[in-house]
């Protein structure tokens, strides 16, 4: 298996991820694996002990994981969020915006395709879980710092 694509500098968590139910039952795990239908908000009270959250995409058309990642960032989680499963390279830019910072797709990405996808759009129209400054703020300098 190819190395996952990773946008973090910290050490790669090496313990296996456990299911959401298993994670909530055992206090010593630090990696959890979310299925598409899992309610990510159940992790709210225990986020400070998690280093890695894998969010699975059973098929690319199933977009629930986009909400899961953004909600995790909204809850203040700063650890790794990894997209696994049927992940399309053309959507990597949008996944980054939702807070994903590593990718282990079923079919490994081509590096050039990743670069193209990440640099395709010069601006964004709306806030998300990333620091990108939306167009409306660029239009109104008085809003650029908050």
């Amino acid at each position: 298996m190819a190395e996952p694509l990773r946008f973090r500098d910290d050490a790669v968590p090496d313990e296996p991820a456990v299911s959401l139910d298993a994670f909530l039952d055992q206090s010593n795990a630090a990696s959890v694996r979310l299925e598409a239908g899992d309610d990510v908000r159940r992790l709210g009270p225990v986020l400070d002990r998690i280093r890695l959250i894998e969010v699975d995409f059973p098929k690319f058309r199933d977009g629930r994981g986009f909400s899961s990642a953004r909600i995790l960032r909204e809850m203040g989680y700063t650890g790794e969020i990894k997209a696994t499963g049927d992940v399309l390279v053309d959507l990597v830019f949008f996944m980054r915006r939702c807070g994903f910072d590593s990718f282990a797709p079923n079919v490994p990405f081509n590096d050039d395709d990743v670069q193209a996808a990440l640099t395709r759009y010069p601006y964004v129209y709306q806030d998300a879980a990333d620091p990108a400054v939306p167009i409306w703020r660029l239009r109104h300098p008085e809003f650029q710092n908050g």
Partner: protein, 548 residues
Amino acid sequence: MYKYDQYDHAMVRARVEEFRDQTRRRIEGKLNDDQFKPLRLKNGLYLQLHAYMLRVAIPYGTLNSSQMRTLAHIARKYDRGYGHFTTRQNIQYNWIKLEEAPDILAELAEVEMHAIQTSGESIRNISADQYAGAAADEIVDPRPWAEMIRQMTTFMPEFSYLPRKFKIAVIATAADRAALRWHDFAVRIVKSPNENGAGEIGFEVYAGGGMGRTPFIAYKIRDFLPTSQILSYLQAVLRVWNRNARRDNIHKQRMKILVHELGEEEFRRQVEEEFQHFLTLGDDFPQAEYDRIAAYFAPPPFETGLNEDIDRSDPDFALWLDRQVAAHKAPGYAIVNISLKPTGQIPGDISADQMDLVADLAERYSFDELRATHAQNLVLPHVKKQDLCQVWTALNEAGLGEANLDLVTDIIACPGLDYCSLANARSIPLAQKLSERFADPARQEDVGELKIKISGCINACGHHHAGNIGILGVDRKGSESYQLLLGGSGDEDTTQAKIAGPGFDESGIVDAVERAVDRYVQIREPGERFIDTYRRVGMDGFKEAIYG
């Protein structure tokens, strides 16, 4: 109308280049059609029965003359000299070559147009009242909010793969010309119910409507939403749906199904909870951005002191005036409806030459503005009453002078089996036959308002559920068959049409429609429209006449 700035231009051009790259990978065989499909469907490109079809967005149905001329140019250069206006106020081209699609998008981008999110599981082009900014009965022009929603929902990361398509409508009148409650999410601008909030406006919010195989009329989920919070509220609705919708059956993934399964109360509760959360994130565009957008929708410089009198001595002109012209908010002005339903023609189709003519008229007589309607017609929104006769004469010469707005020949029809790979039956020839059957102008005027809507399959692109008379094409043991429905409405008195009984073949359905119309004429009470009579007597009042 709205003008792109450097940012809007950059985004649309980036999308053109992305699509050019995706198309190249497809043509070179690096992507197969299964892989290419989700990419092209994010950009309005369908593979139909005979060719690719490209659907171009006309945001909230508003366009100017240079955009219309570009649409004409595309029809000539890349298609067969015509285009087709759709029930989402868009235009589509039916004979597109894949390798030319990126060039078309590049030409569109030059006039601030695109095909972004006109198909696929995405937030589609936002529809609006075609009279917005002109209607005499309007509280305020709703298009600045429609444009704000357009920007917010363009390439929205969290909703990159929604369960299904998502359709939004925005109006600001009590009269509903946009089929509001047939949308997934719709807002109507209203005045504050609170007497202390003098003059304050907000949104009445509807959610969970939709046609397709399981039709639902949207519920009102909020009486009054401050306009400044619309983007938070919309995100809340989208998130509740995105997280909770089924993903195992494509026919049960529209938001209407979730609203129905959760129940109105529980859906509302979840949305309100998520909404309170979104308000803390500060995603709503600020007043300054609303003001910037709204400035583009400032009323055009209407002249004052204009003559209100119109010479009605030509009976054909008088007929057209009464039928095609609506009241304008500015004295001395009128709204002109241009029929794309001449007798025997294809509903919504327009030739490149006609597009150019309409563009000329918009430029000369309507402050350069045009509108597309969900009923597949066009509108010149701001015409001086004293110019109406010249406009009518020019339209007549171009074959666009039909006076049949909302009459029995003003038929909505989907492309059907002549083009569409999903269709079970043809819609266009049926619309043409009905149009010919009822061609007599005196008969049409006598019958009065009667909205016929034809879909070639249960996906209901022809809005048959909302037809006073709806027709649904089905495949019955390998041959085309048509079901007859009565009693639907897409207006402010929204209702869902009901199936009358057994289906018909193509000539049989035309006769059956005529029997229903004749029955109405026979039993109507003074002042009753077809829909009123139907509501009074019910299906039983028509059934025997239809089935004998």
